[in-house]
């Protein structure tokens, strides 16, 4: 019997050793976490390679560049379809990335908001910050989707057509509902308004949303919605927090990329998704636009560089490299403030913003202050400079959409290159991409 006792002691002692002390609690892999802490949640918001990226399609649909036969041959089929306004950028086998990338941001945003809700954290300041970041990204996602997949706000706001999949929680096995243009925009505005109240004035890193970024984003949304009073208030508030401008005279145009990454004008860092097309020396800035820069205007030299044939390629990205910047920078907010002031009747204030910006873009000491006799003249001037400053920034598509609602700024777009051609008259047609058929099939909406 003693032997049996010994054996059972042996067995029992092993059982006790492994049964307790969290033997089964050990993490199976070091780099894996179930996100729980505020640090984990912040890390979820810092996936810059996903969250700070804008679709390349916004650029392709714009008139920032000229389409040549060479360029059209270098394009993928979906890029060509986007460029020629064919209404469809679907990938025949699989997911349309330019659609899904925004929902991925939105998914992270929902997850973060839910984790904050469940977490019961005591550090309210950080919780607010993180919630603000999540709301910002959700608004960012829906706003970009709205620009691509919804008609311009002014022509679509009264329609009760349900178009875009809309989600408010992260739960995967829940079907999305479709939302109307008005619903999407009101959700964007409401998220940004909340975010403004929650976020710190400025973020530790410009890759993270901040109050000034949210104000900047909201002023952009206000413009798209034609709400100039709000646009004025929000852009002015943003400028209260940050209004640093670079002096372009101090930059060296001999550097291939003259701008620094995260330079002092950047409020929120973002880039457009990169495809081999952005390396092409056939990607030329719109000839008409290039010709409009004054010879004393340093944007002309700093933004563009001639290729081997002497034609201008873009190089002036605020990303400091080949990626096209698409974030929010002080120059854009100044231009928004200028336009919104003018449109709400304050021409002087508007021109003041414009002159402040332009004097920093001109050769040192050679800038001559602009003036405008009337609202229309001031507006034309500001819109022209807006186009010249924000070239290759992915904001032009939004401007084309909203300005074409006004007859005096309407512009028919035409492209022809070899056997390919396309045209678009946004003043007559509310153009939007089709929601990918894969999505509708899987949502069970046909």
């Amino acid at each position: 019997m003693t032997n049996i006792k010994h054996t059972s002691y042996l067995i029992l002692s092993f059982w006790i050793t492994v049964g307790c002390n969290g033997f089964l609690e050990e993490k199976p892999s070091k780099s894996l976490v179930v996100p729980e802490s505020l640090e984990d949640i912040q890390a979820l918001m810092d996936v810059n390679t996903n969250h700070n990226v804008e679709s390349f399609v916004l650029f392709l649909q714009s008139d920032d560049f000229d389409l040549s036969e060479n360029l059209v041959n270098e394009m993928n089929e979906w890029q060509r379809n986007a460029t020629l306004w064919k209404g469809d950028i679907e990938n025949p086998s699989g997911v349309t990335l330019e659609f899904s990338m925004y929902y991925e941001k939105i998914f992270y945003a929902h997850l973060v908001m839910e984790l904050l809700e469940e977490g019961g954290f005591s550090d309210q300041q950080r919780v607010n910050d993180l919630k603000g970041q999540a709301l910002f990204y959700r608004a960012f996602g829906y706003f970009s989707l709205a620009q691509l997949y919804l008609p311009p706000y002014l022509s679509g706001k009264d329609s009760d057509e349900k178009i875009l999949p809309y989600r408010t929680v992260s739960q995967i096995d829940l079907k999305a509902t479709l939302a109307t243009t008005a619903e999407i925009y009101s959700s964007i505005v409401s998220d940004l308004e909340q975010a403004i109240n929650l976020l710190p004035e400025q973020a530790l890193y410009p890759t993270r949303p901040s109050r000034v970024a949210a104000l900047g984003m909201l002023s952009r949304v206000n413009l798209a919605m034609g709400d100039f009073e709000e646009a004025r208030l929000n852009s002015e508030s943003a400028l209260q927090i940050k209004s640093d401008l670079m002096n372009y005279s101090l930059l060296d145009s001999a550097d291939f990329y003259p701008f620094e990454l995260l330079n002092e004008e950047v409020i929120f860092h973002g880039v457009q998704s990169s495809y081999s097309l952005i390396f092409s020396t056939d990607l030329l800035v719109s000839n008409e636009l290039y010709a409009s820069y004054d010879s004393l205007d340093l944007r002309k030299q700093l933004y563009f560089i001639p290729n081997a044939e002497g034609e201008p390629n873009f190089r002036g990205s605020y990303s400091g490299g080949f990626e096209f910047f698409s974030g929010i920078a002080v120059d854009e907010i100044l231009l928004t403030a200028a336009e919104a002031n003018v449109r709400t009747g304050n021409i002087t204030k508007g021109m003041e913003h414009l002159n402040r910006l332009l004097s920093s873009r001109w050769k040192e000491g050679l800038y001559v202050e602009r003036g405008a006799d009337n609202l229309q003249e001031a507006l034309s001037l500001i819109l022209e400079e807006r186009r010249k400053s924000l070239v290759f920034r992915a904001t032009r598509w939004m401007d084309l959409q909203r300005l074409n609602q006004e007859p005096e700024f309407a512009k028919e777009l035409v492209r022809e290159a070899g056997e390919f051609s396309g045209s678009l008259d946004l003043s007559k047609e509310a153009y939007a991409l089709k929601v990918p058929s894969r999505e509708l099939q899987l949502e069970g909406i046909d």
């Binding site: 067995i11 492994v18 033997f23 050990e26 780099s31 025949p92 086998s93 659609f99 991925e104 949502e443």
Partner: protein, 1056 residues
């Protein structure tokens, strides 16, 4: 714990029942030509129901009351023996004589917990004995299972993570690999570290009853490998085995490609259409092919078009594959040696084996080797009451590679007419390299001369693997034995990749990170010197098992039971680091600045130096409780049952979901033992039936949101940690369960001329974990959960016949496996394109997991050669609509993608000392999709499929070809339709002469001294070729892009 209490109580009762008036008789039972010790032999006290069975070493111990004096020893297939006890014997050495029905050999089912003789096992298993394990020559032990194991197939299509399937696939997307057990414990190291020469036998466990002892890890079947140990009573035996395998050169022309002439013509056409301009003009300065470079020179006026054309004509004569075969490839040569010594003294058995493998791979300068050392000992102490066993298994694996195949254009020339090394492009264009080299002579040479780089790299990896086993068994009372088994395993690996400063890789990186100031002074952010990547990995595990086994006669039969628990902890970590400016002679390296973003020279983009520091760590924890019992009622009936509960540290699962209980029951009935059984042609007939559940653990799936942390110096904010979601939450996740029913019939004819078995099984997979496609508006594309059920029906039939048994013996072993799996539940629908792309497993109710689907095909349009699909029953060229309107139901379903029938027939002929065996295997009832010309790749300048040359060019061609015309521009929808069309589906059925083995044994040569008679010399040829295939396509349906290479091995085996 209840189990133990019950067992202990039973035990106490037994102790009291056995009084003083008994004597203990010990003994062992041997049988067969080698007089091997036999487990599971029934030892009964004549005239009572008291008895025992011999244990796994063939020993027994029995308490015989004084009044009885006869033992009855019986074992199926052997003559029953009665022993008269004289009262003075201490140890009985019993030898059983075989019955004339002469069952081949004593087969046991080794489960890793116990060894159960075939006659008492109800479950489904296959045992490969030493001869069968050794029949094939290979470095890897698992290869030896191929084509000799009913129900087991090597998958040649589908995921690389599932090389072997046992009775079909039991999961959708979770872990699909069988559990591999080596010497009683799940094996943690790389399987390459098992030396096949050390292996005594392999047992493959297939059904619930056989495998359920492994519980939650048995769902995909279990492969139990047992290494050699010395046998009791064995004299000193030395055995030596040496062989060399030579594999032919690879066939670089096997994968059908367009002709080089038409490729160059195509490049000219695309160039003239401006399609290479993006590459030519790109800021990245990418290389373009030599033809494009020549045409560009002509366009820029540097040469005339005629000169360019003559260059093109010259290129048409070149072929890089010729140079690769001349300078890079050689026949692979594998050498294998092993030497073992084993022997025994009355209380001690020992075995020592040394193995050495040296493999020269098919690319020059590359190869690997393996050295293994095995020592194991077994002791019987305290009069046989205590058994102690130890084992040391040490393996040192080395691999080295000094040459990589150059990434080249198909008509690049690597050597000049006299073999002098030539420059080709790599990464950058010729134009950029020559202009920058002129402009910046300070740069390191930026050209790439592939032949100069042969043998230049110094990439080595070493792995040493150590397994220490100890087991201690104590026979508490004759019928009860307690055992503790422990294994410590550790693996240390070091990978050292050294690229010297002369290599292109290093020169390129240094040049990319060179900067010039206004005066033209160079700053090198990466110092001149080699680049050294070190990767160190360490893994270790402790496994401990405590087990009680109980053998006792109860009533008219004997009870055999084991119960115990098992715990395991495994951890492994690895760290990697890159060093720059490395000087191998001095052993020094130079730190670099990994944080600053520098302008890369060739494209001015910002980038930080690709320094790498990696760390990873994993931990596995398992605790299991198991019980397994069988009751043998005389020689006719056998009942068995088992249960097991597993718990593990599955990530993100609540504690109460960590464990899963699994169980099985089974019964066997030997009809031929019945008195009424009179069927003399089949003197042995047994039916078996089992039922139960196996499980499947998948550590990659979690119910909680799981994120992976990343830190990178090259992110926008250097070193800012970010966490990416790798697993979205799924609170409803549960374990996969596989229910298996197995019904089997075993039979043997008189003299064992014909023997075999037929097993039917039904497997029902419940709550299988699979991916479903979800709308990307969820934020993910796929979602993993318990979305499917499957039902698999199959049978394994095997038959061995001794066609001629004297003079010129001829034996045939045949097996035929049938497996038909069917999805019975799938909760979601998925896009039709998923069924066409064979990337993942996408279920379809009523069809197998792997199916071959295609868009309906209506041939070519005779006017323009466009491929035609079908919309609403009408031929159509609206490819977008064809793809968008397709539904899973509207796709044409050709059939299963994996063989439904497979098997092999192996004939063995002997004559004098010669033995010839040939294995012919077959696979039937499945389909494949072949590739064809991809016009999207064509438009990107790719060297594409041979079908390009067969394409439709003018009306009338549709009568002789099914390959569409070249579209006037890239057309992704047309391309996707064609490559997914049903027109490209073929039948996979084929019969293959897999291998032939010829052996000669010197034992019959009377003139030879005894020591030389035990030599066997053998020749083995593998991958001999196809005998028949259903398809007319030129390739082997199972190897569509590269041919299985023929090999021949020669060796000797010497036992003395």
């Amino acid at each position: 714990m209840k189990i133990f209490i019950v067992m202990l109580l039973t035990l106490c009762c037994q102790m009291t029942l056995l009084g003083q008036s008994t004597r203990i008789i010990e003994g062992q039972v041997k049988a067969g030509p080698d007089q091997e010790l036999i487990p599971g032999v029934s030892v009964l006290i004549k005239g009572t129901a008291i008895g025992t069975v011999s244990d796994s070493e063939g020993k027994f111990r029995i308490n015989v009351p004084q009044e009885y004096s006869q033992l009855v020893i019986s074992f199926l297939g052997f003559k029953t023996k009665e022993i008269e006890l004289t009262g003075s014997e201490s140890f009985l050495d019993i030898s059983l004589e075989t019955l004339d029905m002469d069952l081949d050999e004593v087969q046991v089912m080794a489960t890793g917990y116990q060894e159960i003789p075939r006659e008492r096992a109800n479950g489904s298993f296959v045992t490969l004995d030493r001869d069968l394990v050794n029949r094939r020559i290979s470095t890897n032990i698992l290869d030896r299972l191929e084509d000799v194991t009913p129900g087991l197939i090597f998958n040649r299509v589908g995921s690389a993570t599932e090389p072997i399937s046992i009775r079909g696939r039991s999961t959708i997307n979770a872990n699909a690999q069988p559990l591999i057990v080596v010497d009683n414990f799940p094996y943690d190291g790389p399987i390459e570290n098992i030396n096949p020469n050390d292996v005594e036998s392999i047992t493959v466990l297939k059904d619930a009853s056989a495998a359920s002892i492994w519980g939650a890890r048995a769902g995909n079947g279990v492969i139990v490998i047992t290494t050699k140990r010395a046998k009791e009573g064995q004299n000193l035996r030395v055995s030596f085995n040496a062989n060399t395998t030579v594999t032919e050169l690879p066939d670089l022309y096997y994968d059908p490609k367009m002709s080089i002439a038409s490729f160059i013509d195509l490049e000219r056409e695309l160039f003239d259409r401006g399609l290479f301009n993006s590459s030519i003009n790109s800021n990245n300065k990418p290389r373009v092919s030599p033809s494009v470079e020549a045409l560009l020179k002509a366009r820029n006026g540097q040469i005339t078009r005629a000169e360019a054309e003559s260059l093109l004509e010259q290129y048409k004569q070149q072929d890089v594959r010729r140079d690769l075969l001349n300078y890079y490839y050689r026949p692979a040569v594998n050498q294998q040696y092993s030497l073992s010594l084993s022997g025994s003294s009355p209380n001690h058995r020992h075995n020592l084996a040394i193995g050495y493998d040296r493999n020269q791979s098919q690319v020059v300068g590359n190869g690997n080797s393996r050295f293994s050392l095995t020592k194991n000992d077994d002791w019987n102490l305290l009069n046989g009451k205590l058994e102690l066993g130890t084992g040391i298994y040490w393996v040192q694996g080395n691999s080295s590679s000094s040459t990589e195949l150059p990434p080249s254009f198909i008509y690049d020339q690597l050597a000049g007419p006299n073999g002098e090394p030539l420059t080709i492009t790599r990464t950058y264009s010729e134009r950029y390299i020559s202009s920058i080299s002129n402009q910046r002579p300070e740069l390191l040479d930026w050209t790439f001369v592939p032949l100069n780089e042969i043998g230049m790299l110094d990439d080595r990896s070493k792995s040493s693997d150590l397994r220490l086993n100890a087991n201690l068994g104590y026979r508490i009372i004759p019928s009860l034995k307690a055992e503790v088994k422990y294994q410590y395993w550790t693996n240390n690996s070091q990978t050292k990749n050294h690229s010297p400063k002369e290599s292109f890789f290093v020169r390129d990186l240094i040049n990319q990170f060179s900067e010039f100031d206004a005066e033209g002074n160079i700053t090198r952010h990466i110092p001149i010197g080699g680049i050294l990547d070190l990767q160190n990995g360490r893994g270790e595990s402790h496994s401990l098992r405590g087990m009680l086994s109980y053998n006792e006669s109860i009533g008219k039969g004997t009870l055999n039971a084991i119960a115990g628990f098992e715990g395991k902890m495994l951890s492994s970590t690895s760290d990697g680091m890159r060093y720059f400016g490395y000087d191998d002679e001095l052993g020094i390296s130079v730190p670099v600045d990994p944080l600053t973003r520098f302008r890369r020279l060739h494209n001015n983009s910002l980038g930080s130096i690709p320094a790498s520091q990696t760390h990873s760590g994993i931990a596995d924890r398992f605790i299991s409780y198991f019980i397994n019992a069988s009751y043998q009622l005389d020689t006719r009936f056998n009942f068995s049952a088992s249960a097991r509960k597993d718990q593990s540290n599955l990530f993100g699962v609540n504690a109460n979901q960590r464990g899963v209980p699994l169980w099985s029951i089974g019964g066997g009935y030997t009809l031929s033992e019945e008195k009424w059984y009179k069927f003399e042609a089949i003197p042995y007939l047994r039916v078996r039936l089992t039922y139960g559940y196996n499980g499947n653990v998948d550590k990659s799936t979690s119910a909680f949101t799981t994120a992976r942390y990343f830190v990178s110096a090259s992110s926008i904010i250097p070193n800012l940690p970010s966490a990416a979601i790798i697993n979205p939450p799924n609170p409803n996740l549960s374990w996969e369960k596989i229910q298996i029913t197995n019904l089997a019939l075993d039979f043997g004819s008189k003299n064992s001329r014909v023997s075999g078995s037929l097993e039917f099984y039904q497997k029902n997979g419940e709550d299988l974990i699979g991916d479903i496609e979800v709308p990307s508006s969820t934020g993910v594309y796929n979602f993993r959960g318990n979305f499917a059920n499957t039902s698999t029906f199959g049978y394994d039939f095997n038959l061995s016949t001794q066609n001629i048994d004297r003079g010129f013996p001829w034996k045939t072993d045949f097996f035929w496996s049938y497996v038909r799996e069917k999805v019975t539940r799938y909760d979601f629908t998925t896009a039709p394109s998923n069924y066409i792309n064979s990337g993942g497993v996408f279920p379809f109710v009523g069809r197998p997991l792997f199916g071959v689907y295609g868009y309906e095909w209506a041939g070519l349009n005779p006017e323009n050669g466009n491929p035609l699909g079908i919309i609403d029953g009408q031929p159509s060229e609206d490819y977008r609509e064809i793809l968008n309107s397709a539904t899973p139901e509207s796709l044409q379903y050709a059939g299963p993608g994996r063989p439904v029938h497979f098997g092999s027939i192996r004939n063995t002929f002997s004559w004098k000392g010669l033995e010839l065996s040939a294995n012919i295997s077959f696979r039937m009832g499945y389909f494949y999709r072949r590739t064809s010309v991809n016009y999207n790749s064509i438009y990107q300048g790719a060297f594409d499929h041979a079908d390009y040359d067969q394409r439709w060019r003018e009306p009338g061609d549709e009568l002789i070809t099914q390959v569409p015309s070249m579209p006037s521009a890239q057309n992704a929808f047309r391309n996707t339709f064609y490559l997914g069309s049903a027109g490209l589906i073929g039948r996979g059925d084929h019969i293959r002469l897999q291998d032939i083995r010829l052996a000669y044994s010197f034992s019959g040569l009377n003139g030879l001294p005894q020591s030389l008679r035990n030599i066997q010399a053998y020749v083995y040829a593998n991958n001999i070729g196809l005998l028949w295939k259903a398809t007319e396509d030129a390739f082997d349906p199972d190897f569509r892009t590269s041919r299985p290479l023929r090999s021949i091995a020669m060796g000797i085996n010497w036992n003395f």
